[in-house]
Amino acid sequence: MQWISNLTNLTIHIGNTSFENPIWVASGTFGYGTEAPELVDVNQLGAIVTKSITRQPREGNPPPRIVETASGMINSIGLANIGVEKYIKKLLPIYEGLSTKIIMNIAGTDIQEYVEIMEMVESVSSAIAGYEINISCPNVKKGGMEFGVDCEMTAKLTETLRGITERLLIMKLSPNVSDIVSIGLSAENAGADAVSAINTVVGMSINAKTGMSDIFTTYGGLSGPAIKPIGLVAVHKLYQQLTIPIIGIGGIVSGEDAVEYMLAGATAVQVGTANFRDPGISENIIDSLKNILNESNRKVAADLIGTVQTH
């Protein structure tokens, strides 16, 4: 019954922008989208959120940067990236040729850095659909973490960037706070088009045999299926209080996971750690989402948003 499959509608909207489907790949887990053309057809993706870009190129942290944990992993890459100039020169032209949407993720250590980066990108013509603002990277000293835990700073940063761009402005929230909703509200009130949640959870791993910390920076960011329950709470809480769309992130590895996030309140989701294991997993997740919708009464993905039934 091939025709039934055509009935499903995966399109979702954020601000004025529509996305062919709600399955995106998360910043820092899919490079710049150009790394593995043999393994994945990026044009199938709802969007690619590119690796955090800073004003200057960054080498990142010394190794070891990665360790596996129970149903997860910890990373401390330290925002290794090519810097905004090369991003503009080398990558923006490539993105012109893609039909998938590109969301540029930006990180900085103070408002000025975010502003400079965005102004540089806004000053050239490009196909990027919008920005995701990383105010929550746990692995860089002064790496924007101040913003992520502070409502006022979040508001100020959002407001400032809102003044610079009319493209999508998505603030990426940290789970390492007492109250993620108040940060989200600050972003909404200051003019963000959406928030994404969550970034990684601060974690640590130790080798019992050697007595050494497994990560150079001692702490890193926990991601993967282990944190899915934490991401779901964040999205569900934000959905209760915010009116702007929420993009769900954390431990998504299957179509069911994507559905759960949408039920909790996500308009779209991002697949992170799972890309490391299977670069083509997002295409599978899109197919699986279609199948799930087909087998249910609801054929429209957007109808799932926020419809979880509580007791």
């Binding site: 593995a36 393994l39 960054r58 190794p63 990665i66 149903s71 890459i77 090369k86 294991r277």
Partner: protein, 263 residues
């Protein structure tokens, strides 16, 4: 690079906690470029261990690739449970290759522990190309060796405890051999302490050396930026990217000894 569901042809112990597994992986075998490349193996379908495990290709022939692996932790232990006929999800071939071993110099192949997988692979390439060489394989004890000490064929084994071959590390025969072969070119793979010693020796004696290094990998394909090793560059710009750190999965795992730093 390709993802291939490969049928296990055989899986057997070679020595103490060292196993060999052969796969029918025609697509990966077809893309294979030479000794030093690796595959990234998905050991369990469950997500409790989200990451693949990288393993050097020990041989690639007629649509088959093989690995030699040591039982190290959970996933390598799990690998020993796999039976021939079952399938595993492989990503590969990945990484760069040993080079210049066929440029007229005298290759000295050094393998330590399971680091001998790519070295055996290179040995075969030398054999196939009728290039003379010497091979030195080190281990802690004789029970970890699965090839024979045959000095007459220029194959030397060493053991820390002297229970097989020469007593000591690979450095013992290496030192001697280099004195005889002025034209030596070292190719080494093994645990970091061994690579450090080889590197220092090569630099001190002005011998060329290529090292196959390891690092903890998140993806194997340049997505995660996790697998870095420090480059040895005299002057690094304050604002640089991949000058100070190199991605072992894409730029490596084979490096000239001079080009990397172990701290």
């Amino acid at each position: 690079m390709i993802i291939e569901r490969a049928r296990i042809k055989s899986n057997r112990p070679l020595a103490h906690e060292i196993w060999e597994m052969q796969f029918e992986a025609p697509n990966i075998a077809r893309e294979y470029m030479g000794s030093g490349q690796f595959i990234n193996i998905l050991t369990v379908d469950d997500w409790n261990h989200p990451l693949r495990r990288p393993m050097s290709i020990a041989s690639s022939e007629d649509g088959f690739v093989s690995i030699i692996y040591k039982i190290f932790g959970n996933m390598t232990r799990e690998l020993t449970q796999k039976k021939s006929g079952e399938t595993l999800d492989l990503l590969g071939p990945l990484g760069n290759i040993f080079s210049k071993w066929d440029n007229g110099s005298y290759p000295i192949l050094i393998g330590g522990g399971v680091g001998l997988a790519p070295i055996l692979n290179l040995k075969k390439a030398c054999d196939d190309n009728k290039i003379e060489y010497t091979m030195i394989i080190g281990a802690r004890s004789g029970n970890e060796h699965f090839i024979s000490h045959e000095p007459e064929k220029n194959i030397y084994l060493t053991t820390d405890d002297g229970s097989m071959g020469e007593k000591g590390t690979v450095m013992v025969p290496l030192q001697r051999l280099v004195e005889i072969n002025k034209n030596a070119f070292i190719f080494a793979c093994g645990p970091e302490p061994m690579l450090r010693a080889v590197k220092e020796f090569a630099i001190n004696n002005d011998i060329q050396a290529q090292l196959s290094v390891e690092s903890y990998m998140g993806c194997g394909i340049g997505f995660c930026q996790g697998c870095v090793i420090q480059r040895k560059i005299s002057k690094i710009q304050t604002h640089s990217y991949h000058e100070k750190y190199s991605l072992v999965c894409m730029d490596g795992p084979i490096y000239n000894a001079m080009d990397i730093k172990f701290d």
